[in-house]
């Protein structure tokens, strides 16, 4: 790429000193996203705990129209025509249950775990074998019925040491003998090249990048955590959370933001779009992960109450008295959070004020309607 093009794409500050020596200072805006991985505390026990799993599933707000959209990854030679059936009420209930189960399968969250430790155990040292060959020998146990993770893969180095292979060699050999659909042996250029990854993210193909990362890498690989962290930060800076809602990746995104204590952007977006019940759920998630909210216990109790109400995909026109009470409690809880723990106080405060006014109008409208219909 020419220097001019490099300047155009990456420059934030350009300083050209017209002295004896010309100095051009180029700072790339892409460097503001720093990849991170879970290499400190293990997030798995918290991630897999049932309370947090329920909260994350509720935050993804599954819209079945998006979850069950047509995908062209089946490799079937012909398309299937849709089936129309006449069902009784009980049969309809059974079909709805089946739909819920297949939605749960499609929305299964990729695990959030700590980075794996390198494998370094020597099985035997045979210096008598030195000079036998100049190449390493890799031995793989391809017996049927053994899971890829527990497969025995060892290597004999030219200096006679027999050791277990490290994770990258294991993954490569497992892919050669037992290939997984969609996984490449050679690393795809979208992950190897930073530019290509960022061009995909700038075109907002977040779900595509995350899906490919899930297929290409294991969840405990450092490269997977690096790619996903870059993607989550890009989504956070551009506030494009809606693109990942109703997909399997929203849970890990929310968990990542909460773990690193930068969920305020998400909170702001929730309040702005009027999803204050989900904002309360986000608060209880933060309390469950870190436990450092002042009104943590309140938010927990309120969150449990919210979980009993059904999922709100769109704003309801008709509000019952219980709805109004619950929403007022949510607003108070959020107020306390904004005052105490938020990092975007002014913006969130303004958004909450806007929501309060809008909600007041909605309450008056629904109360007026009830009076007019005579059901008050």
């Amino acid at each position: 790429m020419s220097l001019l093009k490099l300047l155009k794409n990456n420059t934030r500050n350009v300083l050209i000193k017209c002295n004896e020596s010309q100095l051009i200072f180029i700072s790339s805006r892409k460097l503001s996203i720093v990849p991170s991985s879970y290499d400190g505390e293990n997030p798995a026990p918290k991630f897999f705990s049932s309370g947090i799993q329920i909260l994350l599933k509720r935050l993804t707000r599954p819209d079945y129209a998006k979850v069950f959209r047509k995908r062209s990854n089946s490799n079937a030679p012909m398309l299937e025509t849709p089936q129309y059936k006449f069902l009784t009420d009980e049969e309809l209930q059974i079909e709805k249950e089946k739909a819920n189960q297949s939605a749960d399968r499609l929305l299964q969250m990729p695990p959030v775990v700590k980075v794996h430790e390198p494998i370094n155990d020597v099985l035997s040292k045979d210096p008598a074998l030195v000079g036998f060959d100049s190449a390493k020998y890799l031995f793989t146990d391809i017996s049927f019925g053994v899971a890829n993770e527990h497969r025995l893969i060892v290597e004999r180095d030219p200096d006679g040491i027999l050791r277990s292979c490290d994770h990258d060699v294991r993954k490569r050999l497992n892919q050669i003998y037992f290939p997984m659909l969609g996984r490449k042996i050679r690393e795809p250029l979208i992950f190897a090249d930073d530019e290509k990854l960022h061009s995909l993210l700038d075109r907002q193909k977040y779900e595509y990048v995350l899906d490919r990362a899930c297929v290409q890498y294991e969840p405990d690989e450092p490269k997977f955590q690096k790619v996903t962290s870059i993607t989550y930060q890009h989504i956070d800076t551009n506030m494009q959370y809606d693109l990942l809602r109703s997909t399997r990746h929203f849970g890990p995104l929310a968990f990542y933001l909460t773990w690193h204590k930068c969920m305020d952007s998400l909170m702001f977006e929730l309040v702005q779009t009027g999803a204050i019940r989900e904002a309360v759920l986000l608060m209880s998630l933060r309390h469950a992960v870190h436990g450092d909210l002042k009104n943590g216990a309140d938010s927990d109790a309120l969150g449990k109450q919210v979980l009993t109400t059904p999922v709100q995909l769109s704003k309801s026109e008709y509000l019952t008295e219980e709805d109004i009470q619950l929403d007022n409690k949510c607003i108070e809880c959020l107020d306390a959070y904004i005052v105490n723990n938020s990092t975007m106080k002014s913006q969130q405060g303004l958004a909450l004020q806007g929501f309060r006014e809008y909600y007041q109008q909605m309450v008056e409208l629904s109360r007026g309607l009830k009076k007019a219909h005579g059901t008050a």
């Binding site: 062209s72 990854n73 993770e149 250029l189 290509k196 969840p219």
Partner: protein, 186 residues
């Protein structure tokens, strides 16, 4: 006597040949010879495929009025029809339309006939025309009419585009076994 006549004939032959060689003698020069020029002029410019068009030109061509007038909204292979005897076409299309840098067949395939259609990973608008919008499969050469060489180039370009992120596809679903990562279950 015969010796004299033979010597005289020899002398004549040498002098004549000298004149001839003087006329036709070519010293070493940097100018290209005329006979090679004759060969080049005989190539039909419409069939000349020695010069490759850059990708950027091809991308601009796909947005141009000329392209719109030629192909409209259809894919480039839509109106192409192979010439064969009988009702059913042979299973394989021809090996290649271009031989020695020149189109040497009648009815060349949809890509070879238009020199501004370049099969490259960056030329996504052209590559998408050969991928089925319903199944995501790459269309067969039997359907599109491409010669085998261009069909292989197309497969290569699409695979590179998928690898480099110019084109996207629906990624196969990966199911996780939580028991491997969640020690609470075990």
């Amino acid at each position: 006597m015969s010796l004299v006549t033979s010597v005289r004939m020899l002398f004549k032959r040498v002098t004549l040949s000298d004149i001839r060689t003087i006329r036709n003698i070519r010293f070493y020069s940097d100018q290209p010879s005329e006979s090679a020029d004759d060969q080049q002029n005989s190539i039909d410019p419409l069939k000349d495929r020695t010069k490759s068009v850059p990708v950027e030109t091809s991308i601009r061509y796909l947005q141009s009025k000329a392209y719109k007038q030629t192909y409209g909204d259809n894919p480039v292979w839509f109106l192409y029809r192979r010439n064969h005897r009988g009702g059913v076409a042979p299973k394989h299309t021809r090996r290649s339309c271009v031989r020695n840098g020149v189109i040497s067949t009648g009815n060349p395939c949809p890509i070879c006939r238009d020199e501004y259609l370049v099969l490259e990973p960056r030329n996504t608008k052209l590559l998408e025309q050969f991928i089925s919008e319903y199944t995501g499969h790459i269309l067969d050469a039997f359907k599109t009419g491409l010669c085998q060489k261009k069909h292989k180039e197309l497969l290569l370009a699409i695979e590179k585009a998928w690898d480099q992120g110019y084109l996207t596809y629906d990624v196969p679903f990966r199911e996780y076994d939580y028991s491997l990562y969640n020690k609470n279950i075990n």
